[in-house]
Symmetry: C2
Subunit: 228 residues, 2 copies
DNA sequence: CGTTCCTCTATGGTCTGACCATACTGTGGT
DNA sequence: ACCACAGTATGGTCAGACCATAGAGGAACG
């Protein structure tokens, strides 16, 4: 008897496993539709409540989205959006005080250094970076500035070509949005931040990975002086 | 009219918001209990189904765990386990083909270089690393080897002192477990891997961050030759 | 033939009420 | 002091109902 653990399996977990298996077996990808809740319940021999709880899990994990109504777009459609999941994850665990802001900032620094270096090596498209830069120059409030600043830094992650890194970057920014606005307001003058952005962009365009990483590190030190 | 979207809010999302607010306001942390489902339903004026769906989301995000029965340990208890969430997230999105293994490996390399360097700088406790090393020497199968190998690499992340990084590392390893076993089996001889581990451990003990990062990078190149 | 309008229907979202297994609580007997 | 047993609060599940939504499909009309 190798398995002495009773390890009760709840019904919705079984539904979850069946759905995951079905996705793998049928080779379903983003855009494909899952059967309707009532139909799934009947097929699997469970109640609709259990199916719904499984759907809620998949939705939380950014794997499906649900639309009411009728037609090709209605029902549970497979998507691929890990962003919201990570954002919720970080926000909640920050709220639970089980993660320190310092840990999040350090993680962001790690990611952004890597992404900038990678973008520089890959001769990535930098047009999104330029657009965000212009947006920051036109910003007339801290919130507006932070919005374009976020776009700039997420564009760096996008330019790295790694979607997992990019999703993580977006989530880190989103979960720290409040801190970012406060930091910008405390700073008052944003010219030093602009200089940092220009330097990062130049390094990526010059295909200089090490300079890009250094520029990012220096820029974050400017943005969060209290943490360095 | 900047916001024409009615953006319907489902009941369980409202419950989620209320719960998050309550956690923040009451300063609840891991170990504290949430009210019972029936009580929450009555307090918030919603059905128990909606409360349960919200609970399922929180459970998926690694914020609560539910125990049946009665007593101090029963009911919904706040926890702090982002590990399973991240693991599920990666596994499902890999299954959906919305993430390439290459992206996951790259992410792991980024994390582990950072963690090793940080551990070296922080003069971290390396006893867990030594234990895992001994475990690998005693391993008599690829699975067993990978198990201790995972422990070794997670110990590096733990030693960095950043719990977010550590959780991410653990999830990356878990979601790539199958690949790791295959890689070890293909490699056959594990002496080169052992040498890499010894070098990493030595660098961390010598408080040499740059050598630690280099050692990790070289080691991963040895472990996944097909990807470099 | 095309267009407009209305009805039908499948969908997710919500609620109610019930029953079950579980695991502690408390009581009563020894 | 101990033990056995009924009580009870908990999450887990189910069945069935109703609602709002939004496309599908046909009917009426030009």
């Amino acid at each position: 008897m190798p398995d002495t653990r009773p390890k009760r399996t709840r019904t919705f977990e079984d539904v979850l496993a069946q759905l995951e298996r079905r996705i793998a077996d049928d080779g379903l990808t983003a855009g494909d539709r899952l059967p309707a809740e009532r139909q799934l319940a009947e097929e699997l021999g469970v109640s609709r409540s259990s199916v719904r709880e499984a759907m809620r899990v998949l939705e939380t994990l950014g794997v499906v989205t649900s639309q009411v109504g009728r037609g090709p777009d209605a029902g549970a459609v497979l998507i691929s959006r890990p962003d919201h999941t990570l954002t919720d994850l970080l926000r909640l665990h920050l709220g639970l005080a089980s993660l320190e802001p310092r840990e999040v900032i350090d993680t962001r620094l790690m990611i952004e250094r890597w992404a900038a270096a990678r973008a520089a090596s890959a001769a990535a498209d930098t047009s999104a970076l330029a657009v965000a830069l212009a947006g920051m120059d036109a910003a007339r409030s801290a919130e507006e500035f932070v919005e374009h600043d976020t776009a700039f830094h997420c564009a760096i992650a996008d330019a790295s070509g790694n979607r997992l890194i990019a999703a993580f970057m977006r989530s880190l920014r989103d979960s720290m949005r409040r801190h970012a606005v406060e930091a910008v307001e405390q700073l008052g003058d944003t010219t030093v931040l602009r200089a940092g952005h220009v330097r990062i962009l130049a390094a990526i365009r010059a295909a200089d990975p090490e300079e890009a990483a250094r520029a990012v590190a220096d820029h974050l030190a400017d943005a969060y002086p209290s943490l360095f």
